[in-house]
């Protein structure tokens, strides 16, 4: 499912809200989440999961084309940990 399909789905479920408001709302939600992480702030959505940042230590990498060594500085990467409800529901199809 893509973002535009998600927008369509939600617009069908929330028929009393104008479709363009559904679209702006979804974009705002994602933008807010991205902004929160870029400020170094966690996201905690009960039953869904939490997003946090994981630190990657500086390392010496290589340019795959030239083989030349490059110093890469430490950085943060987004990490998602599924919540209990999501884990259980996804797994239920196997049980």
């Amino acid at each position: 499912m893509t973002k535009s399909e998600l927008i369509e789905k939600l617009a069908e479920k929330l028929i009393h809200i104008p479709a363009k408001d559904v679209e702006s709302a979804i974009k705002e939600i994602l933008e807010m989440m991205a902004q929160s992480l870029s400020k170094g702030e966690r996201i905690e959505i009960r039953g869904f999961g939490s997003f946090s940042l994981h630190y990657r230590a500086p390392r010496t990498g290589r340019n795959p084309k030239t083989g030349e060594a490059v110093e890469l500085s430490g950085k943060y990467v987004p990490h998602f940990k599924p919540g209990k409800e999501l884990r259980e529901r996804v797994n239920a199809s196997l049980a």
């Binding site: 499912m1 893509t2 973002k3 998600l6 789905k9 939600l10 479920k13 929330l14 009393h16 809200i17 408001d21 559904v22 702006s24 709302a25 979804i26 705002e28 939600i29 994602l30 807010m32 989440m33 991205a34 929160s36 992480l37 870029s38 400020k39 170094g40 702030e41 966690r42 996201i43 905690e44 959505i45 009960r46 039953g47 869904f48 999961g49 939490s50 997003f51 940042l53 630190y55 950085k75 943060y76 990467v77 987004p78 990490h79 998602f80 599924p82 409800e85 999501l86 884990r87 529901r89 996804v90 797994n91 239920a92 199809s93 196997l94």
Partner: protein, 97 residues
């Protein structure tokens, strides 16, 4: 402080002009729709943010950390999140840590 559903709903009320009730429903249904899609075994791709994928894990040996007893960890399906390039660079450039 962590971002929560309540804060997201408040923002939708202020910025998009949804009623407080619609804003709350919107946030709830947004995450529920993603859960339902993953539950059906389908991937969710949110451009500019990232993809939620499913991975099948086969059974592996495990142990009860309390008792030390060996118990196999059953085969399972798990959700993984792969941040998109745009989110990754925004986070890298952020200086909030």
């Amino acid at each position: 402080m962590a971002l929560t559903k309540a804060e997201v709903a408040e923002h939708l009320y202020e910025k998009v002009g949804l009623s407080k009730r619609d804003a709350k429903d919107m946030v709830e249904i947004f995450f529920e729709e993603i859960r339902e899609t993953l539950e059906k075994g389908q991937q969710v791709k949110l451009s500019g943010f990232g993809n939620f994928d499913l991975r099948e894990k086969s059974e592996r040996p495990g142990r009860n950390p309390k008792t030390g007893e060996d118990i196999p960890i059953s085969a399972r399906k798990v959700v993984t999140f792969r941040p998109g390039q745009k989110l990754k660079s925004r986070v890298e450039d952020g200086n909030g840590q």
